[in-house]
Amino acid sequence: MKSGHVKSGTMKRTPLIILAAGIALAFVPKLGLPAFYDSLLYLMLHWIVLATSWNILSGYTGYFSFGHGAFFGAGLYTTSTLLARYDWPFLATLPVAALVAAVLGVALGAVVFRVKGVRGELFALLTLAITFVIGTIVVNTPLDGGQGVSLSAVPVPAIGPTQSSTFYLLALAAATLTMLTAWGIYVSKFGAGLFAIHDDEDAAEVMGVPTYRYKLVALAISCALAGVAGGIHAMFLSYVTVGEVFTITVPLTVVLMSVLGGSRHWAGPAIGAVAITALLYSFTAANHAIAGKAMVGVILIAAILFMPDGILLRLQALFKRAPKLAPGTAHPPSKIATPSGTPSAPPSTAASGDVLLRVRGLQKSFKGVRALAGVDVDVRRGEILGLLGPNGSGKSTFINVVSGHYVPTAGEIVFEGRDLGGLAAHRIAGAGIARTYQIPRPFAHMSVLDNVALATMFGGAVGDPAEARKRAMTWLEFTGLHGKAAARPDDLNLHQRKFLELARALASRPRLVLLDEVLCGLTPSEIDDAVALIRRIRDQGSTIVFVEHVMRAVMALTDRVVVFNHGELLAEGSATEVMQRAAVMTAYLGKAHVVLPTPQAAHA
């Protein structure tokens, strides 16, 4: 969820607490409890590893995987094959199990994540299908051969005093590693990117998050940890069969645990894993396995209905009263802040500077419909360029192509002398171009401050989340949103959401800002505020391309305008002059029945 601001104290303390808990629990076998407890605790830790590793991809990014059985199974069969056929020492098989599972995951992800339409439910089903495909291959090849693999002849390394305590200690080590990994990602820049993907992947990419690579890395880590759990479990079971591994049961159990505990928190799946394992065990131990199955069903239904965000977030909501004030809110709210630090490029002094963005012959077609039919536009450093045209004339397509959301069909886009044609959106964001959306697209589960901090981290290349929040605060002050830093975007009105869009765009310190109808839907007095703000954006060093229908603002703000019609450049010049031209008036208002003499009919 990342709603709060991780205080630097907790930042340092949490991993120490995880480690301390791991070390303390390592002494449990010394207590000499019956072996039964070792097994129960082993299973809890085993499910903690599986559920938490699943959550690193699926909880954080929202891509629910039903393939965890396959990744777990890949590790399990790697270890059992190496043990049974090649006589490897057990511990040496675990890194290989992790590697095989990760390679499998990355191979799958590299294909699946490239397909634009594969999101959410489709990913879930694809990963489920993969489980059965791999299961079928394993059962039909000598890896399993249909009879299963027996490891009863393989000696268990003497790590703990007894065999069962050895498994317990191995699982404990894996669980500690997994929890540390999950936490480390949760508080890092990487984690922030994953959570942004969860809320709005396109917007995340445009803010500079390398979404494809991030999803792959998260998947690889998730698979590797599941592979380790599989390797240990192979030894624990000592007899492995395909029917028990490559099923829908493993993924459904981990999903259940994570959702129950809270999949938007690093510790949620662990809580769910402990709760469900204890529950199942207490029923099987009392010979009520059937009742146990029904109870799990009832609990799952109750949890979904009454705690759709999980136990942990529910508890947090109970204990957290008013939202804490963000670290930067101590500033007097009236102060009009100018962000510290210089923009990444020297600010321009003259409006007629050199050419910042050069677009030549830009074309974009959608299945034969030509949204852009070859336009040439120059944006000069330091200017506010109005981009006008009737609806459907290609303005938004222009912004989408320049910001990298669409790949151009033809033509070139050169920014500061660098060709951007065909670059991924996050690279274009990194190059110094930011955009806003006409309908604001904030990350719904992040605070207003974290929304802006994300842009600071990715577009602005600030590595440290705490530093990013500090800088983000200055941009909230710049846009007058500092009072709302801890609020959720849902609590903002349209006017504030539009300003949040601006703050996010500015937070990456872009040299060029593309504003897509920021004024649309605002009241006249809000428009005045926005116009003043846009002036200040230019004054602090950004060049602006301004798509707008509100002519009052266009007249007041722009240095130059270009007019699009039917995907072509219709006119170019100063706003007052261009709007007088007959061709422009015709494009906007239609043809007059009486043809008037046209004094300035010539194109620019």
Binding site: F64, V111, V112, V115, K116, G117, V118, G120, E121, L122, L125, L126, L128, A129, I130, F132, V133, G135, T136, I137, V139, N140, T141, G146, T247, I248, T249, L252, V255, L256, V259, I290, A291, K293, A294, V296, G297, V298, I299, L300, I301, I304, L305, P308
Partner: protein, 288 residues
């Protein structure tokens, strides 16, 4: 892996025929699932549990001497009510598509436990007048229970298709699936329609359950065995399309049967899922 020798033409055509029969059941099971997912945006895993519960009830009634097809007169209205009630609950709590998957998984566990308590985990086989019958067309054997399944699957798929395509109710449902608020603004009573549709989906599950009882041996844990392949049929057929699951189900059934005849039965699952993966990756727009 062993023996890629081509089987005889008779054996192959018998395989294709049995593939068509099992494919019809995939389609019938997938029909309700596809409608619920495509038109209500709810992924109902409990659909399989409903089908199995209906199968067991049909089995029980047959034990009391009720004809399996006659038992539909009781099962269809019963499951219609169960489906509508479940939908009412999910709508009441505005459950998201993904949470609906988990919630209905929980429900599946409960129903499985109920079935196991009443009928135990042992295999059960319905004994009916249809079971014994089969007739021969040319060299091919046609078993009657499977033929009933095929007829029901084709008839119901076309009936649902016609309702969705030609009636105002069907158009209203499709409109509501596309944009619920707009459909409401045009006077579509979406709440009532959704209950109706959810009830219909569960009723379709009960029909599929009767077909299951007619041709297959029942065990509570078997319900999970159908999930993967039926989902594949639903996705291949396109969500919310009435004829899609039948066509895709038959395609999968036939290709599985041929795979089994040419190689060995254990290779069969790879066909449906490879097909699914290929289609999802090559044409992802198909299933959204």
């Amino acid at each position: 892996m062993s023996g890629f020798a081509l089987p005889s033409a008779t054996l192959l055509s018998q395989s294709v025929l049995s593939g068509i029969f099992v494919g019809a059941l995939y389609g019938l099971l997938g029909l309700g699932l596809s409608l619920s997912w495509g038109l209500l945006r709810l992924i109902n895993l409990a659909h399989f549990a409903f089908a199995f519960l209906a199968a067991y009830l049909c089995y029980q009634m047959a034990a009391f001497g009720v004809d399996p097809l006659l038992s539909l007169a009781v099962l269809v209205p019963l499951f219609f009510s169960i489906g509508a009630a479940l939908h009412w609950l999910m709508a009441r709590f505005s459950v998201t598509p993904f949470n609906s998957l988990l919630l209905t998984f929980g429900l599946t566990g409960i129903i499985e436990a109920i079935i196991q308590t009443i009928w135990t985990a042992d295999f059960r086989k319905l004994e009916s007048v249809y079971g014994e019958h089969k007739f021969k067309i040319g060299v091919l054997y046609v078993p009657v229970p499977e033929l009933i399944t095929l007829v029901l699957a084709v008839a119901l798929s076309f009936a649902v298709w016609a309702v969705l395509r030609y009636t105002d109710l069907g158009k209203a449902m499709r409109a509501a699936a596309e944009d619920a608020p707009i459909a409401s603004a045009f006077g579509v009573n979406q709440k009532r329609n959704a209950l109706l549709l959810a009830g219909t989906c569960a009723a379709l599950a009960s029909v599929a359950g009767v077909c299951l009882a007619l041709s297959f041996t029942l065990a509570p844990s078997q319900m999970y065995a159908w999930i993967g392949v039926v989902f594949a049929a639903v996705m291949l057929g396109g969500l919310g399309r009435a004829l899609g699951p039948l066509v895709a189900g038959t395609l999968i059934g036939v290709s599985e049967a041929i795979t089994m005849a040419v190689t060995s039965p254990s290779w069969a699952p790879i066909v449906s899922f490879s097909l699914l993966i290929a289609i999802l990756v090559l044409r992802p727009g198909r299933a959204t």
